[in-house]
């Protein structure tokens, strides 16, 4: 009788152990996770906010008044293209004759009425640069480019938003051809929604009209080339 009771007790404990063990383990892990010290490289929203504030000040000190106001109000900067010919869909800016697949393709490009038209880029933080024709608002290409800091001082290679915009602005105004050659080129719509870009272009138009109405001759404005 005693032996049977002991056997039943062992079986019950064994069953309970199987049932309770996962819950006990989970509770222990949760407790350890709550008590664990976070590694120094973890995301700190306060630090990132301060970094962004510093980056905004630096951006403001580099670009002109109009570009700064554009970024502050709209969240992007327009940079005018400085190459002789506007990029064509699926073609890099300043493609050389040797790059054409066939003489017909080259002829088609040279006869394109858009060749030589003013073009511009929209520079967003941590998004591809979008090339477009301001006269028609036709979107040309997306240029995907990043500025990863592999030293990763806080575990991330990502610059603050405004530093990313400033890096693109400096690289575009300083050496447009090189930046565009470095970037991965895609047709519009791969990463940035074309509807959003068209909406941004409309907002930019409205914003410029309002700005002109307020300040007829803005000292810091950048004329189209």
């Amino acid at each position: 009788m005693l032996l049977a009771s002991i056997a039943i007790g062992v079986v019950i404990i064994g069953l309970l152990w199987d049932l309770l063990l996962p819950s006990v383990k989970e509770a222990l892990e949760r407790h350890r996770a709550r008590r664990a010290r976070l590694p120094a490289g973890s995301y700190d929203p306060g630090r990132e906010r301060r970094a962004e504030q510093r980056a905004r000040q630096l951006l403001r000190s580099c670009v002109n008044d109009e570009e700064w106001a554009m970024y502050r109000d709209l969240g992007f900067i327009r940079v005018w293209g400085a190459m002789a010919q506007a990029p064509r869909r699926g073609r890099r800016v300043g493609s050389r004759a040797a790059d054409w697949a066939s003489p017909d393709e080259r002829r088609a490009f040279e006869e394109d009425p858009r060749a030589g038209a003013p073009y511009a880029y929209l520079v967003y933080p941590h998004k591809p640069i979008v090339a477009y024709l301001p006269q028609t608002r036709e979107l040309l290409n997306e240029y995907c480019v990043e500025f990863p800091d592999e030293t990763r001082p806080y575990g991330s290679a990502r610059l603050p938003d405004s530093d990313d915009v400033l890096a693109k602005w400096m690289a575009l105004t300083g050496d447009e051809r090189h930046l565009i050659a470095t970037a991965n080129m895609h047709l519009p719509g791969r990463q940035v929604d074309p509807k959003q870009v068209r909406r941004d272009l409309w907002r930019l138009g409205q914003w410029e009209r309002e700005r002109l109405r307020r300040e007829p001759r803005s000292a810091g404005s950048v004329p189209a080339p």
Partner: protein, 82 residues
């Protein structure tokens, strides 16, 4: 002349400062410039061109920096994104 470097989680960091007309300072700046380029940074000098147009000038050697430049900004080299 001040050398600033963009850094994740930081904004810009002052990495060197000096007067290019003082030989010792210039030597220190040249050394700092080379170190940044060796670390894979690009260097740009913000400038004001004609009619108040702002732009940047990319520099690959210390000699290319205008003597009157107030600052040089270093930022990570561009890479093609996804």
């Amino acid at each position: 002349m001040r050398f600033l470097r963009m850094k994740p989680g930081h904004g810009e960091v002052l990495i060197a400062e000096g007067d290019v007309d003082v030989a010792a300072d210039e030597e220190r700046l040249v050394e700092a410039f080379r170190r940044q380029l060796d670390q894979g940074m690009w260097a740009a000098v913000p400038t004001t061109a004609s009619v108040g147009r702002r732009e940047a000038r990319m520099v690959k050697a210390f000699d290319e920096i205008p003597r009157d430049a107030e600052r040089v900004i270093f930022f990570p080299r561009a890479a093609g994104g996804a």
